[in-house]
Each structure stands twice: as structure tokens, then as C-alpha cells.
Symmetry: C2
Subunit: 301 residues, 2 copies
């Protein structure tokens, strides 16, 4: 199942960064474009796809709370992670020069990540948001627009027959997005290679709960790679856990923690048993092999 | 100094949410529009303004890491916080009906926060990103555009003479942005009202440092209102602290913590002394009165 037969749903069109993440996680997979993140979840739930890739955090933008909400509202399991350096290029039709441009189109987030560079390049352009980066490249090519550039990946240039006018136009070069891969069934955690486990928990009140939870990991020498509190005052959230399907719960805070241990590890099992004692809601989003790719931003700072 | 004489720099043009945050923090202040966040910092540093307001997190988008970077690179102090419900409206010239629209313009983030609602309204429009929400409203009015709507605040409609076509078009009604207010000098922390203190810390390695830091607060019954880890692998960051001005440091992780105590409180002083023992970098961003406004999303979920 690891490779050519696998169908992997992603948000966007061919050439999207999510497609690249799918290809990094599952080489030679059949990547299936979806127009929304929710559709990618549904594709897996309805057996149209075997996996979905979902961006969950970016080094500049932070955690994408909306996509964590999707993880909580659906029943899919995290089965892997992929870290992908984001390297934006300015793309235009062959023969088009910077001076011809009156408009730059891309995903809203990409436009804002290239804001200063576009100004510094002296481009006198309007910026227009479209659904995704690769979709912008496709649009320029399909409509033969000679006054419009797209911000997208080098791969999108290749796919849609565009030239790379400027290579690497993001304002901050250390731009990395972390994706998780999702499946209907959890994978069987192993202990013969580095695993990571992602959990979400919440408690109704009590200030020292977080401390108790962290002690469950610290006393067992389990490292945390992510911890994040998220205020949830008065905001009901539709959670899906094993005991309560689709009930709306109120929490003052919810917490996201990733720790470096496999659920096959007795230390992790004991730690979670302890965490459950202290919290009123606990869900294991998944236990999965760590992405061990060295961290390599597209260029030095 | 609390009120009419104060000059408060914000990013955007009149009618921006940041201007509303400035007005909530300092009623009757003179709000000074700046075209970039960095310019708002400089305005305070160069005595052009007395305060700056800076959005640091949003309930849907999460923490804005780029603005935390600005806090670390500059020497300003957090002197207050403001929580502002974000309530987007669809604005157009008087007499313009939804059917006339071919284009919606706004800040990239606002466009993406209203994506589904725009689709559900049956609007057949292109979306175009501009620098800020209120700037979009100003542009529609100044150019007398009858085919273009702006997504901005009700206050922007009023300022630029536009009508509210649809009131509240954000996809998720629980959309709240937290701003901090900044000054050249820290305020003298007090203990006669609830204060919050924001710190940033980092350590070169060691898995139990976070746990030790949290124990410094837990054992003193100090509640945390925010904790967030941020991976910084191989990414140098220009930090300004009292000992090292502008040196670039490497950390594997940096942590943001907000705790509910004033630095005038002996418990907070003792906790920080302990935190300093365990960390290689520690900076107090500010100790400031908490925004005690009840959390009120623009409408129920």
C-alpha cells in the first residue's frame, strides 16, 4: 500500500504545495485534487481516497486552528507527517517581462507572504486572491493572460507551461509548512523507528492541570515537540471522540501536544493513562513515524 | 496621559480593526495610520507616536508569529491588551445591489475568513486582495465603483459613505483578535487590579526545561493564559535583550507564555528568577492590566 496504488486527497489543483506534500509522503501515489479541505476529509471517509494531506502549521503563520477544528470534527487518524519548505516563484507566460505586469494573482496567504518582495521589485500591480497558488498559475495559462503573473511553485510553472520570472519571492526565506497525513484507520505504532504522537486535551477548570499533564511526560523523559494552548471561552466545539459522537462541549482552553514517543511504548501508554486522570477530554489524533528530513529552508537567513 | 492627548500608531487606514482596537484601549486617542506594522513600531521608537497597537493572535488563524518576531526585534514594551470581536460586513456604494457585483476586495485574511459565506450568497465575483479591510472600503468609495464590494467593518462603511449589503459575513462567528498595546517605557506594574505578564524564553537543549519552567508557576498557583512552543531549528533570530543587543541566536524552540500575575507580585518575581535559572534566553515583553471585557462573539455558534 505504500506507493503507486495509494490515492491521496489534497486541497488545491495539480502543482499545489499540498500535492508536493502528498508526493513526499507517498512517492508515486495518485494525488486527488479537492477544492476544499473538508472535501479531502470526506474523500477519505467515503473511500474515494485512501489518505488525505492537511497543512497544520507554518513557520510564519503559526498553527492553522481551522484545520485542527476539522481534525476534531472528523474521525480520521494522523498516520504521518511531512515538513515542506515553501518556495514561492513569480510565474508568467513565456515572453512576458516584469514591466508588462499589471496584476499578480495567488492564494491570499501566498500574496501576503510575498508582500514586501513584490514592492521591492518595483512592480506596479494589483493583487488578486484566488483559491490556491497552482490554480492561479493554471488561470494565467488557460486565459493566455500577458499582463498577469501568478505566485506559485516551480512545479506549477512546469505543469502549466509558464516561465519563472523571479525564483524565491517570499519575504522570509525560512518558510516551512508542516502537513499531516490522514487515514480511516490508525497505523499500528512501532518502536523500531522514531515515532511521534499527537494529542488534544481539555479540562473544565483548574490551573495546574497543564502542569500535571506535562509532568506525566517529563518524569518519563518523553520530549514534547509542540505544545499550544488555545482559548475557547464560551465557544462550543463539535468534538468527535470514542465516547461522545458529535456532542458540542464547552472548554475554557484546549491544548495541542505532540510528543516524541510511539503509543507502542509503555512509557507513552502510562503517560496517557495519567493524562486521562487529569483531563475531562482527551483524544489521540495519531501515533506516526516522524519526518526526519533535515530542516532546510530554501536559502539562508 | 490616558485619553485625548495620546497618539496611537496602528497598521491600516481609518476604519481598520486595529484602529478600533486603539480606540478601545485609549478612548479619545489620536489614532495614527501606518502602512506597515514595522512603521507603527518605528513611529513609537522615534516619538512620532506614544503607543502602537499590534494584533498578536486570532481565534481562527492562531498566533501571528511574524508579529511576535517584531516584538523580539524591537525594544518596545507591552503595556496593555485588547480583545476585539471581528465582525466583517459586505459594503458597497448606496444603490448598489448584490446582483451588480463582479468583484469583492479586502485584506487577504478577511477574504479567506469569508470564503464560504461569499459562495453561499451566490455571488459570482472575483476576489482581490488589498493592503487592509478599511483601505478596500476607501478604494470602492474613492473610485465610485458600482461593480465592487469591500469586506470591512461597519465603522468603515460609515467613514467612507458605503451601505452595508450583508452584516456579518465571516464563515465562523467566533472570530476574535487579541491586540497588545506597546510603549517605549514599561508601565509600573500594580497589584490592585488583575495584571497579566508576557514572557518569551528559549533554551539550547534539554527536554525537561519547559516542565521546570511551568513548575515555577504551578507551585506558586500562577495561572497561565497562553503557552506556545515555536520550532526554530537552524533559524537564527535577531533578538534584543538587555544583555545582547541585536545578536542573532540559534534555538531549537522558543516559547511564549502569558501568566496571570503582575510583576509587582513577589510570586511572579520569584517565579521569573527560577525561570531564568533554567533558560538561556528570557525576556519580559511586558506586565500589563488584563482586558477583562467578557468574551462576546458577534453572534452565537
Amino acid at each position: 500500500m505504500h506507493g503507486s496504488e495509494l490515492r491521496v486527497a489534497y486541497q488545491g489543483v495539480p502543482g499545489a504545495y499540498s500535492e508536493a506534500a502528498a508526493g513526499k509522503a507517498y512517492p508515486n501515489c495518485e494525488a486527488i485534487p479537492c477544492d476544499q479541505f473538508e472535501v479531502a476529509f470526506q474523500a477519505v471517509e467515503l473511500w474515494i481516497a485512501d489518505r488525505a494531506v492537511l497543512p497544520v502549521e507554518n513557520s510564519l503563520g503559526g498553527s492553522i486552528h481551522r484545520n485542527y477544528d476539522l481534525l476534531l470534527r472528523h474521525r480520521l487518524h494522523i498516520v504521518g507527517e511531512v515538513q515542506l519548505p515553501v518556495h514561492h516563484c513569480l510565474l508568467a507566460l513565456p515572453g512576458v517581462r516584469k514591466e508588462y505586469l499589471t496584476r499578480v494573482i495567488s492564494h491570499a496567504q501566498a500574496l501576503s507572504q510575498c508582500e514586501n518582495t513584490i514592492t521591492k521589485l518595483g512592480l506596479n500591480v494589483t493583487r488578486e486572491a484566488v483559491d490556491d497558488t497552482a490554480g492561479a498559475a493554471e488561470y494565467v495559462a488557460a486565459n493566455n493572460l500577458r499582463d498577469t503573473a501568478a505566485i506559485a511553485s516551480a512545479r506549477a510553472a512546469e505543469l502549466y507551461g509558464l516561465n519563472i520570472l523571479v525564483d524565491g519571492i517570499q519575504d522570509d526565506s525560512s518558510n516551512v509548512t508542516r502537513f499531516v497525513t490522514l487515514a480511516r484507520e490508525p497505523i499500528i505504532p512501532r518502536t523500531d523507528r522514531p515515532f511521534k504522537t499527537s494529542i488534544v486535551f481539555a479540562h473544565e477548570k483548574g490551573t495546574s492541570v497543564l502542569f500535571k499533564v506535562l509532568s506525566a511526560f517529563a518524569f518519563r523523559n518523553i520530549s514534547l515537540t509542540k505544545i499550544e494552548s488555545r482559548p475557547h471561552r464560551n465557544r462550543p466545539i463539535r468534538l468527535v471522540d470514542d465516547a461522545n459522537v458529535g456532542t458540542a462541549k464547552h472548554f475554557e482552553y484546549i491544548f495541542y501536544v505532540d510528543f516524541e514517543a510511539s503509543m507502542a511504548d509503555v512509557r507513552a501508554q502510562n503517560a496517557l493513562a495519567e493524562v486521562q486522570e487529569f483531563t475531562s477530554f482527551l483524544r489521540v489524533l495519531g501515533s506516526y513515524p516522524m519526518d526526519m528530513t533535515p530542516w532546510c529552508p530554501s536559502r539562508g537567513d
